[in-house]
Amino acid sequence: MNIFKQCKQYFFEDLPFFFSMPAIVWEVIFFCIPIICIVGISFIKNWDVSAFSGITLFHYIKLFQPIYLKIIVRSFLLAIWTSFLCLMFGYPLAYYLACKASQSIRNILLFFLILPLWTNFLTLIYAWYFVLEKHGLINDILLSLGLISAPLVMLHSLFAISIVTFYCYLPFMILPIYVILEKLDRTLVDASQDLGANMRQTFLRIIFPLSIPGVLTGFLLVFVPAFGEFAIPLFIGGDKYMFTGSLIEHYFLIARNSSMGAAVTSLSCLLVLVVTLFLRWSIKKKFSYIEGRK
């Protein structure tokens, strides 16, 4: 009886632990364990037939054939290219929103920026069909202006895939940069201009380095999903080109080869993690002087 009362007392004392546990339990069960599952399955010889077929590195060895490496490199290049384009086009936009626009215009522009972000992804991909196809908007405009004599073939190509990926991920790059730039200490800019720097020098040596954390966040917010993209190659690419995401989907849902799929998944996850950590480490090293000054 005494023990029971003591237990009850300890339970109520330890209530914080009790209530903080569900989130951690949820995370472990639905995040950590599935990842471990994937890594584990990639080493099993034939997961679909039996869970205990035997441990092997066969799937990883198979992955190093040119066919598969080409697919992974293609996804990597698409992700890097998309991130680069998004940065080129997104930074000026974020800069304008944060530094140059007046408050009311800023709110309106922000609304129109967040809206595509919060629209269904498939809807956006679907919309591009009508812009890129032979009787679509672009061809109609170019034909009526007389710039071309026959409709351009744009849909179902790598060009179309890169445009649509850029379109879908542009807002993801703009928002983090905007957030950082908005919080920028204006007195630093004023001080630099007082000390005689022109706008270009101020930008290159003060504003841009201080916005690097935002650029990094934006870059990763674009790079990581773009690497695993499979819906855009499926619809806009006409299912002609395989990317990492399509390869994973192929192995898990069509070919039903979970072990191979798991190997591709773990390899791509590893690649993404390596890129993320490398970027964070190198940026930290290069721009550590900013942190010091803060």
Partner: protein, 259 residues
């Protein structure tokens, strides 16, 4: 003269061009939802018959209902788990676990989706709504815990102290003081998770086993099998809904550090 004009206002032109680029496909989408022709690539005449068909399609209503149920459940679970974790781990060593929740967003969603699929298949969990909600909650936690924790950390501890001094129990303090002070973060967070869950299709694609249909999956299967303007009409309606959510978010989100 023109060069000078261009030099000074190039940024504005650039911004306008980018916004135009962002909205051209959406404009085309909405325009063709009012097209009377069966195939949306050729404009024939104005008609709202696709909206009428959308309204009367029982399948789309069922699918929308499913999506909303999943989204609301994901929001409730994310908030409950997030709030209880943030609040109860505030004074213990467990709060150092919070940064690990960022990992939910750091990996590509497809990795999480196939991980969940393999996990569920291994333990013979019946695929359907519950598995979908589980997946969406994981992503929701990745957003809700950082947002809620930063919002909670901003609360002045002296207010909590004074509330306890004045005789309120810790739970009364929680419900009457802390939650109202965190209200903008909670609302912003719930809107974010709600939208993410509605728009998500990667996890739905892998983890529902095709017994439960959500809105994204419905659109996916329709695009795959036949392009009709009903989807244009559906997309326009969803755009309208998104606009509403963005307006609500912007009015609350400005007070919250989201990113």
């Amino acid at each position: 003269m023109v060069k000078e004009y261009l030099g000074r206002y190039w940024l504005i032109f650039f911004v306008a061009a980018v916004y135009l680029f962002l909205y051209i496909p959406i404009a085309v989408l909405i325009t063709f939802s009012f097209n009377s022709f069966l195939y949306p690539f050729q404009w024939v005449s104005f008609s709202t018959k696709w909206y009428w068909e959308l309204w009367h399609s029982s399948e789309i209503w069922e699918v929308t209902q499913n999506s909303i149920i999943v989204a609301v459940s994901a929001v409730i679970l994310s908030l409950l788990l997030g709030l209880s974790f943030v609040f109860y781990s505030a004074r213990s060593r467990l709060r150092f676990v919070a940064p690990f929740f960022y990992a939910n967003l750091a990996i590509p969603e497809i990795v999480l989706a196939v991980g969940l699929l393999s996990f569920f298949n291994f333990f013979s969990v019946p695929l359907g709504f519950t598995t979908l909600i589980a997946g969406h909650t994981i992503i929701g936690l990745g957003y809700s815990i950082p947002i809620l924790q930063s919002s909670f950390a901003e609360i002045d501890y002296s207010i909590i102290e004074s509330s306890l001094d004045l005789g309120a129990t810790i739970h009364q303090t929680f419900f009457l003081i802390i939650i109202p002070m965190m209200a903008p973060a909670i609302i912003a967070c719930s809107l974010l998770v709600f939208t993410l869950s509605l728009d998500d299709f990667i996890i739905a694609f892998f983890c529902t086993g095709e017994t439960a249909q959500t809105l994204s999956l419905y659109i996916l299967s329709t695009i795959r099998t036949g392009i009709t303007p009903t989807i244009n009409a559906l997309s326009s309606c969803m755009l309208l809904l998104s606009s509403l959510l963005v307006v609500i978010f912007c009015s609350f989100g400005s007070r919250v550090r989201v990113l």
